[in-house]
């Protein structure tokens, strides 16, 4: 059974700081996704990572994939309040399995 684990589950950051969210998964897969969810809203696709070594960046967020280590990271650079949300990684292996989510709060 595919397991997807994120850490940390809760992240409180100061504006301007950098941090990384980690996503580990248990079964070989070459497709990994990152999503964002704002309170009371649905999930929004952020990144699709399709191959080992893939790196994608959008604004202050950068995602990478290491399929050999079965690890993806979501790096936040110089956090701002607007990034406060819950972030999920998800792995496709037949079905689409999600991590538990990381609740990110950015405060002044």
């Amino acid at each position: 059974e595919l397991k997807v684990e994120q850490n940390p589950l809760f992240l409180s950051m100061q504006e301007g700081k950098n941090y990384t969210i980690y996503c580990n998964y248990s079964t070989t897969s070459d497709r990994l996704y990152w999503y964002r969810q704002d309170p009371g809203k649905s999930l929004e696709s952020l990144f699709v990572l399709l191959s080992n070594g893939a790196v994608k960046q959008e604004g202050r967020l950068m995602a990478s994939l290491d399929t050999k280590a079965r690890l993806s990271t979501l790096h936040i650079t110089a956090a701002v309040h607007d990034l406060s949300a819950t972030y999920f990684c998800a792995v496709s292996y037949g079905k689409l399995t999600f991590g538990q989510g990381t609740i990110l709060t950015v405060h002044p």
């Binding site: 809203k41 649905s42 999930l43 696709s45 699709v48 496709s92 689409l96 999600f98 989510g101």
Partner: protein, 115 residues
């Protein structure tokens, strides 16, 4: 833009009722999914479907069934609602994994309360 539409944002049902949650997508996606989301548990897959009339159990199918009679529509059925099925239900759709555009697109969610 991809649109995944769930029939209700909020529902309140009584224990023992049969409940239908409807989901429609307009992007000709082959895959459709039903998840439930609970605090601290993330998204858990109930059922998914990769074609009309095809269905596969997810991680927590007990107490649920699904129907996919048309490609664009995927229904989740709670045969006899119970209070432990109170949750946020999310529908999603995606292309099959033969292209690079395989991310799932989500509906707005249905918050179901069973009393």
């Amino acid at each position: 833009d991809v649109k995944v539409t769930q029939s209700s944002r909020y529902l309140v049902k009584r224990t023992g009722e049969k409940v239908f949650l409807e989901c429609v997508q307009d992007m000709d996606h082959e895959n459709m999914f039903w998840y439930r989301q609970d605090p601290g548990l993330g998204l858990r897959l109930i059922y998914f479907s990769y074609d009309v009339k095809m269905k596969e159990k997810g991680d927590i199918p007990e107490g649920y069934s699904v129907s996919r009679e048309k490609k664009e529509r995927f229904s989740l059925i709670l045969e006899s609602a119970s209070t432990n099925q109170t949750s946020m239900y999310l529908c999603a759709s995606s292309f099959l994994a033969r292209t690079s555009r395989t991310e799932a697109f989500f509906g707005q969610g249905t918050r179901l309360t069973v009393v």
